[in-house]
Amino acid sequence: MKKYTTPLIDELEKGPWPSFVTEMKKAGKHNEMANDAVGHLEKCYRTKMGYWKHGGIVGVLGYGGGVIGRYSEIGDEFPGVAHFHTVRLNQPSGFFYTSKALKEICDIWDKYGSGLTNVHGSTGDLVLLGTKTDALETIFAEYSSRGWDLGSSGSALRTPSCCVGQGRCEWAMYDTMGLTYALTQEFQDEIHRPTFSYKFKIKSSGCACDCVASIARADMSIIGTWKGDIQIDQAEVKNYSSKMDIKAEIIDMCPTQCMSYDGKELKINNAECNRCMHCISKMTKALKPGKERGATICIGSKAPIVVGSLLSWVIIPFIKIEEPYTELKDLIRKIWDWWDENAKPRERIGEVIEMKGMRSFLEAIGVPPMPQQIREPRKDPFMFYTEDDIASYKAKEAEEKKTGKYKF
């Protein structure tokens, strides 16, 4: 195996934080591809630029995604990375593993790939970094015969992912891992065969802490919430009072100013609470969310390309998330139908909603307008009226004339 001198990236083996260079070299000791990846990276550092070529279509028979094609412009110099495709392996919900399963994944990858991985990619997949085109079918057969499937790429439903949820968190307002597994199974075709106008991501967080950042990076963000009163254990509140300044850290920081504490009893005006999770997350032994649990559905977030980033918009303030999740699955299909009809190629759902108007979208999926959906009403007077709108406002006025009572 060729021995590279790598003075620049060697600098990144120093210091307390675990070094990815050390990892690459470890793999390079017994793997030609990883070894060449080390040399290739040193050259990037020396010349201050990358040498990868974009994409190209590679994959496995019957699937339109799950593999990201990657070639080096300088494959002659570094043959081990001439092809260096990525295989996305669909992760188990919550990123839980047994050592047995993980070792099996490693054995196969050592045999047919570079031995390098990302655990995990930012969409959630377990990313196997670097293999050759002619190994792809073999890799797929090895993994799928052992129960592992590919994740997604391209204009498809991307591999859904979630926070740890009820597996290990007291704040999970629904079963994020169960839902993610169910949606992944339900939409296998949409995951593996890209037929959308662009990518669609679904991420599930069990509460407003949003540990998978769904509000910022999922076309559909499913965020746990509740109705009803926050459950208070006053004895535990008392215990906290010796450890923290309840007035400064909790009462004064409550965004809706709906709490009070007189040194004996903590009171919450629950009607005014907006369920931000601040108090609950700081006093986890004393406070618990209310008992009627579900999720808020938000739509549309994406990174800035092309006309600026979006955070997801609240569409459905509250929905129950319960097996077999029929309501949610139907909703997702309705959303895709509308998107499919209205999107130009490479338009994310948020962009299409901006173009066509929120009304068109809400009507298509059968959701009424609600003040919970907005931060503030529109500022301009340039609104549209349909004949039906005017007719309904007129009908309301006729009704008022009869009853003698205004109804605004």
Binding site: P16, W17, A27, H54, T117, S122, W148, P304, V306
Partner: protein
């Protein structure tokens, strides 16, 4: 050797087979958790059962050798059960308290770093960079390594008013949602791409290339059977290069990084926020990007010295005002910080009530 029978559309394995018995038993019935140290926490179930978690740093880009080592450790102390976090840390799941101290000792002996829980700095969300992406204007893994070496104390022990979430995007596509981080580095190209007309004809489709440009800077160049780029409109996103390799955008002396701050994902106290641009350009300085790293550390330190307990960086800035953020940090305010793309109307000041 015959290949095993391939199967399609089976989806991932069901997660239940990977859950330790204590989780299976107490699934959805957790009562509370306590952070014991920045590297360990304990979850207590309504049944009284306990689960200890030990979190260790990972470079995300890992060899199978290291994954196997994680597995060996999990077998020794955790019945073989482990998981990874959204921010790429590894977590060892301990159900027998007697195993906790021996596990921590072994991790230390093997050189694994415990930390990342609570009000400090945990692993950095990042993307591929020069390690694997065609679009990269910098290397993400190298920047992350250099940043975390410098900020390491905040991972392992030192505390802050609240969490500071860091991210690195190696180009403006921003895979990984860096646009809502407390502090993020976004790599930028800064020069109008150059078109190699001779290769254009053979390798690129005219309508695709024109359509790829978000600012409509690209128009046909019939004389060259190619395209030309309007320098007044181009903002160097690199989309044209993505669809047409003869349009070259990489420039070692001009590619660099920008720093954005004040973003937040969760809804605690205040709504999620985007990160905003405060430093428009720092040259790429591999292997350790000293100036970018120093800038991040400086912002963390000014935040630590000035924010109130529980205030995230963006909440602190909103309380004191952006003009105060610039004066406290001593960061020069530049034209690049004034939005001239999609958000100008929302971001200009419309009252005379600012601070000096």
């Amino acid at each position: 050797m015959a290949l095993p029978q391939r199967r399609t559309d089976i989806g991932p394995p069901h997660f239940e087979q990977f859950l330790p018995p204590v989780i299976k038993k107490n699934y959805g019935k957790w009562k509370y958790h306590e952070v014991l140290t920045p590297g360990t926490m304990v979850h207590v179930a309504e049944s009284g059962d306990k689960l200890w978690t030990v979190r260790v740093a990972s470079p995300r880009l890992m060899s199978t050798d290291t994954i196997r080592e994680h597995c060996d450790i999990a077998e020794k102390y955790c019945g073989g059960y482990l998981r990874y976090t959204t921010r790429n840390n590894a977590e060892f799941l301990v159900s027998d308290e007697k195993q906790l101290e021996p596990l921590k000792k072994d991790l230390t002996a093997r050189g694994f770093k415990m930390g990342g829980i609570g009000y400090g700095i945990t692993n950095v969300v990042h993307t591929q960079g020069w390690v694997h992406c065609h679009s990269a204007a910098t290397d993400a893994s190298g920047l992350v390594k250099a940043m975390m070496d410098e900020l390491y104390d905040y991972f392992e022990s030192k505390r802050l008013p609240n969490k500071v979430r860091l991210a690195v995007a190696c180009c403006v596509n921003m895979c990984g949602a860096v646009h809502c981080s407390d502090i993020a580095v976004v790599a930028v190209h800064t020069k109008v791409p150059v078109v190699n007309h001779a290769n254009f004809k053979n390798m690129c489709e005219l309508p695709t290339v024109i359509g790829a440009c978000p600012t409509r800077a690209i128009s046909p160049d019939p004389a060259n059977k190619s395209v030309k780029i309007n320098a007044d409109k181009c903002m160097y996103c690199g989309n044209c290069f993505t669809v047409c390799p003869p349009i070259s955008i990489k420039d070692p002396e001009r590619d660099g990084v920008a720093i954005v701050v004040g973003g937040k994902i969760n809804s605690l106290r205040s709504n999620p926020k985007f990160s905003k641009l405060v430093i428009p350009y720092i040259s790429n300085e591999p292997p350790r990007w000293p100036k970018a790293v120093a800038a991040i550390k400086h912002i963390v330190e000014v935040y630590a010295a000035n924010a109130r307990k529980h205030e995230r960086l963006g909440e602190w800035i909103e309380r004191i005002g952006w003009e105060r953020f610039f004066s406290l940090t001593g960061i020069d305010f530049t034209f690049q910080s004034i939005d001239d793309f999609t958000f100008m109307r929302d971001t200009m000041r419309t009252a005379s009530t600012f601070k000096w």
